[in-house]
């Protein structure tokens, strides 16, 4: 692998960003309602020129008010999950680590459900009510990862296998909590347990939530990026990294907190979508190598591309009905994962 230079970093990210743009345009074009490519291009240019009032109301609302926010949501959620997965894999030096496998997604889902229940009891104005759920999800994710962290410690050191097992057990425990909450306390106006355990992007997020997600993603990813070089050293092992002068506990705390924020934000708006955090980092590592200064932005862009594609499939294959996007990521992701795993082994 050639050494990473800033030029190469930007070139690669530029290519990925271009790919993301193409995928977003394709996603904007496709949907339950037919939209012509010409009309789409004309309207996008109008939006960029701040002339959105000139857009014909006919599909202005559909493309711009329904499809675009959903695609942006897929971009942020995909990027968040993917960066969270990258961080966990580096930190635990375990290729199977990902927010879904470690139970953090389930914890965030439980947090979201509890927040939803509390929210429906209190009379909060709708603009703020939407912010309760991401906060609850973050708390759920943070508490879960703290619990999994404690479970995974052995003689003061994190033991990857123990932690992973602890995560799997926690995930299954929390899934049953979700089932319990759904079948006893929650009214029928909430989404069912399948949504939280499979994931879907069909809820139209309010603008305030989209901003919160975007800012949260940038802050958390930025925080993780500051540890990129340390994560590279951590690949050699915790003790080795410590000997090389890495402040391992600090890196761990930063990455855990930031990854909890990323997972919490993503899950609160989309449920627990699996495989993105597992597969995209793998694929990016195969293409670009395991230098985290490259891997983190590449995973963010790759995760966005993957989830926008998956959600476009979920939206269109059975239109006007929809599939759960988590089902699409699993159906595409599981075989691909097995392939990657076998390729690694051989």
């Amino acid at each position: 692998m050639r050494p990473l230079t800033i030029g190469r970093l930007f070139l690669r990210c530029g290519v990925l960003a271009l790919l993301l743009f193409v995928v977003v345009v394709i996603a904007l074009k496709l949907g339950a309602v037919q939209v012509s490519l010409y009309g789409l291009g004309r309207d996008l240019i109008r939006v960029l020129l701040h002339q959105s009032a000139a857009i014909s109301t006919d599909y202005g609302m559909i493309v711009v008010d329904i499809r675009l926010p959903r695609i942006l949501l897929a971009v942020v959620v995909g990027a968040s999950l993917s960066v969270a997965g990258t961080s966990f894999q580096a930190l635990l030096r375990n290729p199977l680590a990902d927010p879904y496998v470690l139970g953090i997604s389930s914890g965030a889902a439980v947090g979201s459900i509890v927040a939803l229940m509390i929210e429906s009891q209190l009379a909060i104005s709708p603009e703020y009510a939407g912010l309760m759920t991401p906060f609850g999800a973050f708390l759920g994710a943070a508490i879960t990862i703290a619990a999994v962290y404690v479970l995974g410690r052995r003689e003061g050191q994190i033991d990857s296998t123990t932690l992973l097992l602890g995560g799997v057990i926690t995930a299954s425990f929390l899934s049953s909590i979700i089932m319990f909450l759904m079948s006893t306390l929650a009214g029928s106006s909430f989404r069912g347990a399948t949504y939280w355990m499979m994931g879907s992007l069909s809820s139209l997020p309010p603008k305030s939530l989209l901003y919160l997600l975007g800012i949260g993603f940038l802050v958390a990813t930025g925080a993780i990026y500051t540890t990129a070089s340390d994560l590279n050293l951590l690949l050699a092992g915790e003790k080795e990294a410590m000997h090389l002068g890495v402040d391992v506990p600090r890196v761990q705390i930063v990455v855990y907190l930031a990854a909890s924020i990323l997972t919490g934000l993503a899950v609160s708006v989309s449920g627990a979508i699996g495989y993105i955090g597992l597969l995209v980092p793998h694929a990016m590592r195969m293409i670009f190598g395991s230098d985290h200064r490259m891997l983190i932005p590449a995973s963010a862009l790759g995760g966005a591309i993957a989830l926008v594609l998956a959600d476009t499939i979920a939206r269109t294959v059975v239109a006007p009905s929809e599939l759960q996007v988590g089902a699409v990521t699993a159906i595409v992701g599981a075989p691909l994962f097995i392939y990657l795993l076998r390729k690694r082994l051989s």
């Binding site: 800033i6 339950a32 709708p126 079948s183 809820s203 139209l204 989209l210 800012i215 940038l218 932005p297």
Partner: protein
């Protein structure tokens, strides 16, 4: 040193670039909220089933229904020509299937809804999701939700829907008819002990209804009492518990419960033989209207009452039969076991109440 400053620059540039990208996209999203259609028709404020105060057009002309029960109500009120879309599950009356579809009840397609330019979207608090309400709010599409947990509330919700769709007289005619028919039935059934029944929503795993559902209330009106004491709406019940309670009758709606069309597909499931009602073939099949909080609930209540309490509905045949009991034309009910009382009645009530004791 040189390398670390280099990487610092890289980081800074990257962060800047991602910020730019984000604000560009966020700006894109912020730019896009369009005002609703420029022509604003007369509006009024109504309180809906969520307790929200919603602004609705006084005379909506493009209505979308997001639940089968609402579609039925729209047709019952005779305003189906204003219905521009409904869900995949809206199958009654059959013409409703030909309306443009907007997807399912739980996951309607927002694009499809917006494409139909509705000025009123009808929802139920029970069946639709809060997030669909929020999404429609975000899009500025007027939505009105009903909320009915009893038969009386179904009647008042029907009237409110009639008001919201600006046909209050049709509403009054419809609800008066519903009330009168239920009143007549109540008079007929007064003093008759209710039959203890198990309502089967889904046989495997066995799911029944809670006491706070409109279905439980409909059963009460039909002279039946659900044996499942639960505050959940759709409790999962163990067969053991049902065996302990021993319902006198099983009730199910074939098209809805995945049980197939006949009693045997339920009765032949392992373990169900411990129920007296299964061994004695005591059951009633009702139309899927029982699970829809719509005006048709009255017909299904009447139908069920006839199936459960046939004696009450036999006026002259009773004396006729007592006149010549030995000369029974239909050689069915011999022995201790009763003949199964099961009618496949859909909309019209069964008129042939044959000699069921």
């Amino acid at each position: 040193m040189a390398d670390s400053t280099h990487s610092l620059v890289k980081r800074a540039l990257l962060v800047c670039a991602s910020f730019c990208m984000f604000f560009f996209t966020a700006d894109l999203a912020a730019q896009t909220s369009l005002p609703a259609s420029p022509v604003t028709p007369a509006m009024h404020e109504v309180t809906d089933g969520y307790g929200r105060t919603v602004r609705l057009p006084v005379n909506p002309s493009r209505i979308i229904s997001l639940a089968p029960s609402l579609t039925e109500t729209v047709y019952a009120l005779g305003v189906e020509d204003r219905l521009v879309g409904d869900t995949d599950y809206c199958d009654y009356p059959p013409e409703a299937q030909k309306k443009p579809k907007v997807g399912g009840v739980i996951n309607p397609n927002l694009e499809q809804i917006a494409a139909l330019h509705p000025d009123l979207v009808l929802m139920t608090k029970e069946g639709n999701l809060l997030e669909t309400v929020r999404a429609l709010e975000t899009l500025g599409i007027p939505a009105y939700a009903t909320d009915a947990h009893t038969v009386d509330q179904i009647i008042s919700a029907t009237q409110k829907l009639a008001d919201v769709m600006n046909v209050p007289e049709q509403g009054r005619a419809l609800t008066t008819d519903m009330e009168q028919r239920l009143g007549a039935l109540q008079t007929k059934l007064s003093g008759i002990p209710p039959r203890r029944v198990l309502f089967i929503v889904w046989p495997e795993p066995l799911q029944s209804i809670g006491q706070n559902t409109f279905i439980a209330d409909a059963l009460r009106r039909a002279g039946a009492a659900s044996i499942v004491e639960s505050n959940q709406d759709w409790p999962q019940v163990s067969l053991e518990e049902v065996a302990r309670l021993q319902p006198e009758e099983l009730i199910f709606a074939p098209s809805h419960s995945g049980a197939g069309d006949d009693f045997d597909s339920i009765a032949n499931r392992p373990g169900w033989g411990i129920l007296d009602a299964v061994r004695n073939r005591r059951y009633a099949i009702v139309s899927e209207a029982i699970i829809r909080p719509a005006p048709r609930i009255v017909s299904v209540i009447e139908d069920l009452a006839r199936q459960l309490h046939p004696d009450v509905f036999i006026e002259k045949p009773v004396t006729e039969k007592e006149a010549h009991p030995a000369n029974s034309a239909a050689p069915v009910t011999s022995g201790a076991q009763q003949k199964p009382i099961a009618y496949r009645s859909i909309e019209a009530m069964p008129t042939e109440i044959s000699c069921a004791l």
